[in-house]
Amino acid sequence: MKFGVVIFPGSNCDHDTFYVLRDIFKQDAIFLWHKEHDLKNVDCIILPGGFSYGDYLRSGSIAAFSPLMQEVKEFAFKGGLVLGICNGFQVLLELGLLPGAMLRNKNLKFLCQYVHLRVDNTDTPFTSTAKKGQVLRIPIAHYDGNYYSSPETIQEVKKNNQTVLRYSDARGRLSDEANVNGSLECIAGLINKSGNVMGMMPHPERASEALLGSEDGRIIFESLIKSLG
């Protein structure tokens, strides 16, 4: 099983994600370059965090047009596993692989801090090792993480159980206070209808070693590794 971590110009969590996959989880991982068309037979693609193209225009928008992303789209349509973290999530939204869009955080400031996330759906390849309702402590670091979609779309999303991770307090209760960036329905992580493409604003790669303050992000990688099996 092989992971591909995509590098866009301006990606800055590409090496972090790669490091965690290779050095912490001892997985086979390679980098994929945005200008290429070849996915090099990877089993799972991770779009890392950062500021692709400086996040000029809109976060993730220009990266969505890169040659590699057209292949990723194909790959996703065929059922391949794709995880977008932070900027990667924004790219997936811009690409239309996930529904909705991101607005600026409700306090209009960049936010870097730990948040609590309630796992609402464990029936996904990204969260299968979590318990339903489990609360994870994982950091966020973004400017545009205020999730939005139209009322019809959000109905759909809820009906299909696509809200995987939601901002909550330490005990799993949703509230305006816990919903630091103002996301609709406290959405922090979202999966597509067919269950193979997920985007999440928090950074699981930053919460994979005890030394750095939390290991709760491991669940995401462990689930992926298990499902690729």
Binding site: L57, R58, S61, F65, E94, G100, A101, L103, R104, K106, L108, N146, Y148, S149, S150, G182
Partner: protein
Amino acid sequence: MKVRILVSLKDSVLDPQGQTVRNALHTLGYESIKDVRQGKVFEIELEGVSQEEAAKVIPEISDKVLANPIIEKFSWQILEKG
């Protein structure tokens, strides 16, 4: 040819930036300001295209690139012909 494209959030989408600007203006005593919406403007220089072609290209790039139709709308006008 010079074209101006305005991109702004749809009316149905909350605009916290605009709100904050409004609040800031109120604090400064500009009470007459009832509402502020903030958007983006692009001024684009095109070369070697006719007006007709522009009328095709501009909405295309606005829809595809400059605006995100889920949250934004756009309008445009030609500033300088030629």
